[in-house]
């Protein structure tokens, strides 16, 4: 058992010209021993950075502690030898795909125990117990690559349990985890806290479902210079506020009989690894309309968008303008349909903001329309002064805005958006939605938007389709 104490901590990612802008500035907080703490804050505030400093991964893997320290109990984290650290603190990462060295579940657990120099005879009992604890004994010999996001995170927790880590850190662990797996993981964490007095710290920008588990709520502000523990009342208010996004009373219409479908699915079947995500007799997306697609994490929304872009295989029929998508050539298809990726970095092809915009303008379906409006759009999005900037080093919000703009410029008939609003502050969100609406109307586009963030969307979208129980259904309510 150990208290995590952060004392006057400042942290920087030095730039290439030797400057040291602070990502975290003079933070202090104490995460109580044996407690279940939740660390929240807007995306880009530095939650992940703080978690990695606490786990001892930073500054080894990046950045620089410019002031202050982090202690685990009475030891400075930087002074704990790497090979002893595993028993004190372990981490579950945001991206479930890049956290295993080995090929199968069992081998990964054994790998971690070998690293801790556990005698071989003691390994199997520990592996058995850990898999049993997380209820994944049946996954034991499975290839990690064949598991779903939720299953991978269960394996990650099993590794932490097998390692007997005293403090468990989880960095936005549920981003691609389905609701059932999420509930199981949370209840297992609570059990670890109660039965074995583990200290648990989760970072998440999403507060849903946490209220029955957590003891302490910490808030990191958007600029990374204030880290506060909320008192009980304030915490309850914050949790309650998060639930009511004030979208519950907003209603949309259902598609009309006269609507013309542009994307159609018949007996569509989508799978991830060995599990079925979607099993859909019939559904359409309608031309010249903006449709919102919602559903819990890990249920297959992104996979559907990937399938429409021919980046994920499907069974059954999936038509674009009455043509089978699997049979359309990539180049031709992607001139009709573009996918705005969840990860903005995947969209960029060049180095600077100017080059990115120039490429889109060069190949746009309607270059004149955008040439006229581009300066204004850039100003509205506060990108005008960043033209020579390297796109990969922009802030999360700036990346998102640039990405959406450069894809809008392409003016393709169909646009698919995967979580386009993550990391946008309130005013940017308003601007982005207004521009999307304007372009969609002027260029007669069809849009499908996957989004968790629902605030203000009633002004943008026409229809709402929900993905639940492997099934898509149009609904009237926004929430």
């Amino acid at each position: 058992m150990a208290t995590i104490s952060v004392k006057n901590l400042s942290f920087s990612y030095p730039t290439e010209d030797g400057q040291k802008p602070l990502t975290l500035t003079n933070l202090s907080a104490t995460f109580p021993s044996g407690g279940f703490s939740l660390l929240t804050g807007p995306s880009g505030s530095g939650k992940s950075t703080l978690m990695k400093i606490i786990s001892g991964l930073y500054p080894k893997f990046g950045g620089l502690v410019t002031a202050g320290e982090v202690r685990l109990g009475d030891q400075k984290i930087s002074e704990i030898p790497e090979q002893d650290r595993g028993q004190l603190v372990a981490m579950m990462f945001q991206n479930p795909n890049q956290q295993f060295a080995m090929d199968t579940v069992e081998r990964e657990l054994i790998f971690a125990l070998e690293n801790q120099c556990v005698p071989p005879a003691e390994m199997m009992p520990r592996v058995d117990r850990a898999l049993d604890y997380v209820e994944i004994s049946q996954l034991r010999h499975r290839q990690l690559n064949s598991l779903s996001g939720g299953e991978k995170q269960k394996v990650a927790l099993a590794v932490i349990i097998a390692m007997k880590a005293d403090t468990i850190l989880l960095d936005e662990p549920f981003a691609s985890v389905d609701p059932i797996a999420r509930q199981l993981l949370l209840s297992k964490l609570a059990k670890l806290q109660h039965d074995e007095h583990k200290t648990i710290l989760i970072s998440d920008h999403d507060l849903e479902d946490y209220d029955q588990y957590i003891d302490h709520l910490f808030v990191l502000n958007g600029t990374g210079d204030s880290l506060k523990l909320l008192d009980k009342d304030a915490a309850e208010r914050k949790m309650a506020n998060f639930k009511r996004q004030d979208t519950s009373k907003q209603y949309l219409s259902l598609p009309a009989q006269t609507d013309h479908s542009i994307i159609e699915a018949h007996d569509l079947n989508l799978t991830a690894g060995t599990s079925t995500l979607l099993n859909q007799p019939n559904v359409s997306f309608f031309q010249h309309h903006i449709t919102l697609l919602t559903g819990a994490n890990g249920t297959g929304k992104s996979t559907l968008l990937l399938a429409i872009s021919k980046l994920h295989p499907y069974q059954g029929t999936l038509l674009l303008n009455q043509k089978e998508i699997a049979k359309i050539r990539n180049k031709q298809l992607l001139q009709e349909v573009v996918l705005v990726f969840q990860d903005a970095d995947q969209q960029f092809l060049n180095v600077t903001v100017t080059e990115e915009l120039a490429l889109s303008l060069k190949n746009s379906h309607t270059p004149e329309y955008f040439e006229k409006r581009l300066p204004d759009f850039l100003k509205q999005l506060q990108l005008a002064d960043l033209q020579d900037h390297v796109v990969y080093t922009l802030s999360g919000g700036q990346k998102k805005k640039l990405q959406i703009l450069e894809m809008l410029i392409m003016a393709t008939p169909v646009m698919l958006f995967d979580e386009p609003f993550t990391g946008l502050d309130f005013s940017s969100l308003q601007t982005v939605m207004a521009i999307m609406k304007q372009v969609a109307q002027d260029c007669q586009q069809t849009m499908v938007i996957v989004s968790h963030q629902l605030f203000g969307l009633d002004a943008l979208v026409d229809y709402h389709v929900k993905l639940e129980n492997k099934h898509l259904q149009y609904v009237e309510g926004l929430a």
Partner: protein, 191 residues
């Protein structure tokens, strides 16, 4: 100037292997081009020329790794890891792939070694292109029986290989490195 250490850390090794695999996967895309070229040239006895025409593509990983990591042995290690990956994917050359990997790796490494691992510029890259062409050609004289060809063909194949290597392992690698250098991500992210 950044200081480059010669020690390999876990992260460097993963990065180098990932790059090698990416190249392996991209070569996979090129595979059919090689087969078509070979089939087309075989009736006139020039099938092996396909190998020389595409040689630059196979040997890109070496100079790129040398340029990116600026460590002793990085070009060799890059090519060798690429070859191991290729062999496990079931490449066309089987067990000799690993030997070729080492040969190609040392070949491109020589270019950097001759400049004492001090220069990482257009000159050392060109030197690496030259050493790669000469050494790999020597290996093919033995392995693929090039030594038996008439002198005219031999010279032609050498020139084709030199041009191919210069275009891919020289010009293209330079273009890739230039894009990367402009982002400054190699300096800020890996050290």
């Amino acid at each position: 100037m950044m200081k480059y250490s010669n020690a390999w850390h876990l992260r460097d090794i993963i990065l180098l292997t990932l790059i090698a695999i990416f190249f392996g996967v991209i070569y996979w895309v090129v595979g059919p081009v090689y087969n078509i070229l070979t089939v087309a040239l075989t009736p006139v006895g020039l099938g092996p020329a396909a190998n020389d025409i595409l040689m630059g593509v196979w040997v890109m990983a070496g100079p790129l790794a040398g340029y990116l990591f600026k460590k002793i042995g990085s070009a060799t290690l890059g090519e060798f890891l690429g070859a191991v990956v290729e062999m496990f994917l079931g490449g066309q050359w089987g067990a000799s792939t690993m030997i070729s990997g080492v040969v190609q790796g040392i070949a491109s490494e020589l270019g950097f070694a001759f400049t004492g691992y001090k220069r990482y510029d257009w000159f050392s890259l060109n030197l690496s292109v030259l050493t790669t062409t000469i050494v790999t050609f020597g290996w093919d004289m033995i392995r693929n029986g090039y030594a038996q060809y008439h002198v005219g063909l031999l010279i032609a194949l050498f020139v084709i290989r030199l041009v191919s290597t210069w275009i891919f392992a020289g010009v293209l690698v330079k273009a890739i490195v230039k894009l990367l250098d402009r982002t400054h991500l190699m300096e800020t992210r890996t050290r």
